[in-house]
Amino acid sequence: MADSQTAPLEPITAADGTPLKKKLAQALFRSRVRAVSLVVPLFAFVMASFVIPIFALMWQGVYNDRFSSHMPNLTEQLTMWDGLTEPNEIMYGALVADLTTARANRTIGRVATRVNQEYPGTRSLFTSTARKAKKLKPPFKESVIKTNKKWDNIEVWQAMKITSQDLTPGFYATALDGRYTVDQGFVRQDENRQIYVKLFWRTMLISATVMGLCLLLGYPVAYLLATLPLRTSNLLMIMVLLPFWTSLLVRTTAWIAILQSQGVINDLMVYIGITADDARFSLIYNMTGTIIAMTHILLPFMILPLYSVMKTIPPSYMRAARSLGATPTMAFIKVYMPQTIPGIGAGGLLVFILAIGYYITPALVGGQDGQLISNMIAYHMQKSLNWSLAAALGGILLAGVLVLYWAYDKVIGIDNMKLG
């Protein structure tokens, strides 16, 4: 009797004498460590080869030390300058000294390019003055202005002050069709220089159109696949999965063969007599081509989620609605459609996310007006070599995609993503 009264006061122990609570905590901790250690290798790999590179590039969008690293003396002077008063003799002296060394080190081209990004039309001003910099005599202010009158323009100096700051919002301003100035902060770019915002809108518009078309084409097909007997629907499913598994470039090539002016569609149109031989439709190398090819490529991403949702809807619901007096249309709209909304959401978001960052197809079949923002990023990475601007444009695109991704995770949950 005495034993049973004192026993609950003592902690329950495991076989080796440690309290059970502690033992349980240890076991839980061990299994947690085991789970984490399984994930860590991939996590480290993804971090090193994917996340860090993207962050490194994004950092370039707000940080650029090209000017300050090559023009140290002038940078020091520009930092002290208020940006509004007339540039003084010391600043001109620093300019001449830095231009001389930059020319000797052959880095003047980089400096000129950097300022030119901020204030277009100044590239030659820097390179030509740098050529003469060595021979210039004090007073520097007069002699520099003598080489080129543009040095008298305070806007050039203001642009230099902006570029001399390593941490700059200038590239994001440019990416949003604005300019960052010393005295006024953000200013809108001139009307004829505004291209990026328009391009962002066009990207959204094309993505939304593609999403709409995918839904329009994907919904009936998914419904058919979900309602047919399994044997038939499995056969038809091949028609959806085969394009899904076929190389993107193969499909793009095929669309070129189909849509070009001497292509299958146009030949057929001429043969039937819908159009004259010399008035063939231009279906490719423009926005139409981009939309058709992208719709085809992204259609399976709409059909598959829709199909997997529709398969779970019991057909008896529709029959019940009919037996209660609903017309087929009514039953479909009131009973069936609301149940497919998760599928519409999943497919639509997925298609939109994938469409908004598309690069290959627009680049190959887009021509002039079918280009998306990705193509502009590629242009700045590879052709104009303005990586900071590319990073800023990419940063805006990435932010948009991440918001959509977050929404996708909240609404559908990435665990529920299914393939094939």
């Binding site: 993207i54 590039l57 063969a257 030949d267 996310i353 990705s374």
Partner: protein, 304 residues
Amino acid sequence: MAKLPPYTSTGEYIWHYVYRSICGLIFLFLIMPIIVVLPLSFNVEPYFSFTKGMLNFDPAAYSLRWYEDILRNGMKAPDAPFDWAWLADTWNNGQWIRAIRNSFFIGICATLLSTALGTLAAIGLSRSEMPYRRLVMSILISPMIVPLIITAAGMFYFYSQVHLSQTYLGVIMAHAVLGTPFVIITVTATLVGFDKSLVRASQSLGAGAVTTFRKVQMPLIIPGVISGGLFAFITSFDEVVAVLFLASPEQRTIPRQMWSGIREQISPTILAVATLLVILSIILLTVLELLRRRSERLRGITSS
């Protein structure tokens, strides 16, 4: 045609067939590019369009010259007699052959890397003890969601600084990262239906952790692993943006070669390659379907 119930009205009859025809047209839209590519790759003329002869099924209008061109393009002596030297020439110098070799090499390496890491991570992620499960999962899936151009540009910028760009290792790492989300998704999906009591049963019968994994867990998740691997392989095999940014001419893959083919010298050789790729995707699709059936059979789900 499926039998319609007897209470179907005339309007519904008409709608039924109209609906079926609309679906037929959409299926045609889906499959048309593949149907068009196949015959055009046998065109005797160097055009992308059907000639009169092809439409009349004139045998002279068809040829295998573009398939030969896959072998010949880039060779030092394409017209030499066919012997071992000719084969060695095409193996070493053929542009397309080099691209095919690169694609398989990079694809297989990337697949092995992403399948190994992805499977382990998926097993870890499917355990309930895993802390910050959702956050970690969304980071690991993100390579599939982030626009390729941003990924490629970032890698180009970063890999150049650590001397990885223009090397095989750089391209393989890029492709492995892009393939892992597919492995994670497919393996996680297999593990969701995994009966945990099997592990406990195995342990109660005296098997250690390794034996349990090898003999009990592995055979059940292997179909998921293989199909994830196939997804990873096809991702790498089809990827061109990262290659555009990261690869030197030495690491040209098939899609990269097609890309320059479309942009610079458009010739039906691309269509011949495209046909071969379609055949490859049919093979992969078949393998995947067989795996899916096997997996269903193992879990005791019978398809009706």
